[in-house]
Amino acid sequence: MIVLRVRVDRERCQGHARCFALAPELFELDQFGNGRERGDGRVAGPLEAKAWLAKANCPELAVEVIEE
């Protein structure tokens, strides 16, 4: 079975905070407002659509969705 995992590339992220706005269950922001995945980034089934949405709305292409 394929499991999704999200990851924010810290080098690319510029803090647009779109991932956090669209999928707060999967992403959080640090004290500077830059994004990072929550925990190990594993995406529970019902949140898969949100993971792809976050990726589709990151202007810096910093959000990765990895299929494992």
Binding site: Q14, G33, N57, C58
Partner: protein
Amino acid sequence: MNKRPPASDWSTDFDHLDPRWTEDPYPIWNALRQSCPIARTERFMGAYFPSRYEDVRTIAYDTEHFSSRRPVVREYRPPLIPAPPITSDPPEHRPAKQVLLPAFTPEAIERHEPRTRDICRELIGRMAGQSRCDAAVEYAQEIPVRVIAHMLGVPEQEADQFRRWIKEILEIGITDLDVLMRAQREMIAYFAEKIAARRAAPREDLIGYLINADIEGRSLTDEHINGTLRLLMIAGIDTTWSAIGSCLWHLAQHPQDRRRLATEPGLVGSAVEEFLRAYAPVTMAREVVQETEISGCTFKPGHMVLLSFPAANRDPAMFPNADEVIIDRKENRHAAFGLGIHRCIGSNLARMEIRVALSEWLARFPEFHLDPNLPVTWSVGTVRGPRALPLLLGA
């Protein structure tokens, strides 16, 4: 500005002050994207205009060949007037931005939402009983100026003065160096006084925040604080005012979108992103500091680049049906707040203000239209938005 010779050819003689560009730039950009795609001009002492998303992104990411030290394309090259971090390049840029970021996270901005809502309600309250209004003057332009005054801890009553400086720096000052320099001097003197007052009597506002802030253990100099405050004021006002105005301009002409938003408030988030994409207000500038070639165009040192995020946002190679406003667009990597290290620090603030301004407006005026008897007018230069937006209120 009226005496300028009209642009003879958009690809070799573009002029973003030309009335045709001010009125409706989108067809011009579409034509350039297909033919050019990087336009040139001898005006402004030499400037380039990339029209495609890809080239705008390349330049925004390339801080080696393109400097941010002059954030506006002007007829002349004024003395450098630092306003960190917008005018900063690496390596100074990062610490100057880091120091500000905690005050502009979504969480920090949320604290200003109640005040923003009150401002919107107060402005709408003033229109009670009116069947028409100028939504740019009576609503949009009043919101960000008051919010930023509230954040900086300066009197809201000084709003007229702030707007005058902004017009002088971002519009009149594009062609008139004396006006630009006078406005700069006035703003510097204004904030010098505020900084001194805040040192004498500390308060919890942005001025106080900057006075207490440090970069690697060293307090910011008064010059640095002054530059940052001028930046926050200039960048925080007519940009968001323009965005709110453009949203209302669109909704006044698109009853379907208006009604959908009024009945499905959950769509406001994606609608705001789509309005930001389609009507992005802010065009930035870069100065070429080292020769380079992009998409077959040679960029010569000393020339400026008009870095048009609004044009990038209309590129059909990046956004299907780019000229169509689709308020529930799913994939939207728009560049309204820039790309790369200079991502607008006020993006969370602007989004909050636009969302609150729209929600409050639609709650009170679900129906409104353009007044057919009065013209809509647009700002000239680097920020695009309606400056007169005559509306008829009600069905």
